[in-house]
Symmetry: C2
Subunit: 460 residues, 2 copies
């Protein structure tokens, strides 16, 4: 317990019922149950404004109490585990859509707004926010982990879709990282410094997002391939000729098998690509025909497409249920998704390498990939009480990361570092890690913001 009674009293005076040291509230703020250490904070605060967050930070900073920002808690690498105790700042009551501009194609939201709620609120504007990590998540959490999902191949990740942030610094100052102009050359790019900083440099309280027009038409397709080489060659050629697909997702045969069992479906149990082409009514027809040509030249069989929304949903059902199906196939298991990302020309090689590692794997798994980004996951269905499972999966994960780094890829494409990927940062960044440490020390000299995350312990 690093939260002393005086600090607790000050927070309680500031927040009233929106401050809690109850065991039940603390337990709800350890993050997703994963293979990592999920430690509860000493207390939880629910601020309702940026000014209130600043007041909380000033109280904690004066007392040396760690602060861990918290959204929906869906992050996968123990990103919100309170490893040094302190205060969890739960952003879920800051969930307003503050403004929308259809002319500027942007909006400003509070950090605790979940992405699904944002898109529901935007429904009548003709605009939407496309970034879609698997589960629902807050915009603040997505910004903090530099999240992406299935639509990054077309729209980029959180990195490309944030115009500015309001941040409370470790000194309790409120800053805005940039203006609302689409581009600027006015000094250091603070926006991108905080995007992906996982709460270690300050708390993001507001976010201005780029929005995109809902496409007039969408065609979905599913095509099966002999293996990952043919599927990823198809993705590469589609990108090269500028087809600009909305989504391009890969499932291996194992994933389809799990889905068939889970959803009583009869899909062919082979490597499969799920594609969406978006655009005007005319364009999508031309483009999907071009895509089919490319796919068939690369050995695709069983090409199916659909245009009506209901049919598209049915066609993509396997993709949408793959994670749940994989975990459900082993009752009582917990999902552990790996997350490497590599240059797309090396993707097939890395998937084949992973399949080699997985050949004798006793833990059930499936492979799924955002193939247009070079990002793929192996989802393991782990027995949470089996140290053997943990050891096997850890070793495979480490070998996948090593392979990804050997082809100039990264140890995490979209999940973030948290606790889980810290051990790979030295290998990934080398001497650049010293620059990250200098920045952390300069902006958070007391090391109070989400301590123990991202940067590995410094034994130098």
């Amino acid at each position: 317990m690093v939260l002393d009674p005086d600090t607790a009293a000050a927070l309680s005076a500031l927040l009233g019922e929106r401050f809690s040291i109850r065991e039940a509230d603390r337990r709800l703020h350890t993050g997703q149950e994963t293979h990592h250490v999920s430690l509860p904070p000493d207390a939880v605060a629910w601020p309702v404004s940026t000014e209130e967050v600043a007041a909380i930070v000033r109280i904690c900073a004066a007392a040396g109490v760690p602060i861990v920002p918290h959204g929906l808690g869906s992050s996968l690498e123990a990103n919100v585990s309170a490893v040094r105790g302190g205060l969890s700042v739960d952003m879920m009551r800051m969930n307003r859509l503050l403004r929308v501009s259809t002319d500027d194609l942007d909006c400003t939201v509070e950090a605790g707004l979940p992405r699904e709620d944002l898109n529901a609120a935007l429904r009548d504007t003709g605009l939407y926010f496309p970034i879609d990590p698997g589960p629902n998540a807050t915009i603040g959490g997505m910004a903090a982990t530099r999240a992406s999902g299935t639509s990054a191949v077309r729209y980029g990740t959180m990195r490309e879709n944030i115009l500015n942030l309001t941040v409370v610094t470790p000194q309790g100052e409120i800053i805005r990282t940039a203006r609302r102009a689409r581009k600027s050359s006015a000094g250091y790019d603070l926006t991108h410094l905080y995007v992906g900083s996982e709460g270690t440099l300050g708390i993001i309280t507001e976010i201005t997002l780029r929005l995109h027009g809902r496409p007039e038409a969408v065609i979905a397709a599913v095509c099966t391939f002999p293996g990952p080489a043919e599927a990823s060659r198809t993705a590469i050629e589609a990108i090269q000729i500028g087809l600009n697909p909305g989504r391009m997702e890969y499932l291996d045969a194992g994933a389809i098998r799990a889905v068939n069992a889970y959803s009583q479906m009869q899909e062919a149990e082979v490597d499969t690509l799920f594609v969406e082409i978006a655009g005007t009514e005319d364009e999508v027809e031309t483009r999907i025909a071009l895509f089919r040509e490319i796919a068939e030249a690369n050995g695709c069989s069983g090409f199916r497409q659909a245009r009506a929304e209901e049919e598209r949903t049915r066609l993509w059902k396997a993709r949408h249920t793959a994670f749940s199906a994989t975990v459900a196939a082993r009752p009582g298991s917990r999902g552990w998704p790996t997350d490497v990302c590599v240059p797309i020309g090396s993707l097939a090689e890395c998937i084949v390498h992973a399949k080699g590692l997985l050949a004798d794997c006793p833990v059930p798994y499936a492979i799924m990939g955002h193939v247009g980004d070079g990002n793929f996951h192996v989802v393991f269905a782990l027995d949470p009480n089996s140290p053997e499972d943990e050891a096997v999966v850890s070793a495979i994960n480490a070998a996948m990361v090593e392979k990804a780094l050997s082809v100039d890829g990264t140890c995490t494409g979209e999940h973030g570092v948290g606790l889980g990927k810290r051990k790979y940062l030295e290998a990934e960044h080398g001497p650049a890690l010293a620059i990250m440490r200098r920045i952390k020390a300069a902006l958070d000299p007391q090391d109070l913001f989400n301590p123990g995350k991202i940067l590995p312990d410094d034994h130098a």
Copy 2:
């Protein structure tokens, strides 16, 4: 002269003929002649490798000698002026294209490679690098100033098109800011921290760039409007419906008048929009027809379009020569381009505001804008020997910046801060400026890298 004889001797021993203290060489490294103070360095170095840059930096850092990285010297805000003397590190002999991958759609170049040379080298690959600031410029200089140009509306700026950088830090360490994966959540985004840092945090020596497929077909169009409101409304609606134009450029009536005089053309002297639509053969026809509909609904008259390259060039000639024509209209004058960028919905209001400021302006000028980005320039043809001209233009520039900031815009869309825009950073960034200062102090504690740039003098 801050370069002491021992340091000069050490640099000379390292570089031989590629180190110079000759007056003529120093004079060539003051940057573009502008309304700002262009001061020469004490000496110039021409390294040929990243390792040599690191050796140079270590020698200078040990002696406290300032370092100013230098490319083609085309920056506009005295970004390379050696205000505290020291060494200009001229990157022009590091001009190799190091690798290209057509599968990964990327390439790695040395910082001194000019963008036009890069595109010439890429000609046979089907790929190109679209970012095009007005004059030719090195990729390193474009990265350092976060440059853009006419194609940012479709492809983004340097910010969106750099995968990683090799940087020599002020400590003389060589770092790489990221891997070659298209996306990553592995720690702080150092790439974006150095992009736009104008040599104040280190020297960029290599850049990995995203490349883009050359479009199958391009249609260019020119359309005239009653005023900026109608032109920018057309741009907004084209973006909203997802037309994704390749370029959308605005010239005011004055710019067209200057071009007509300069190039013996007979264009209608009214506000004009220059558009390019790129895509597949079929698509461009559909899209230009849609664009025309939107333009005509917004009061466009005189819509002309062209498809063959030669005709497109003729159609766009006014846009390409507008800057030169404006300056040439007043013999002996020098061009001073302002550079604000605002949310696109406020663009017309800001152009109208600028026209108001310009109503009685005795200095010849023209307005040109990257209308899809909300970025526009007033190009003044200044008498370089007239303090009156300078005073008038400075006042108009300041009022334009103030207006841009009032609508949540920025004081510079693409030229950078250099010396010229430092005085606006406090108004633009407020308390965020303190974070920029912390970062500068953490990464360059001796303040040796391009000192006196970006950050205003701290009188706190």
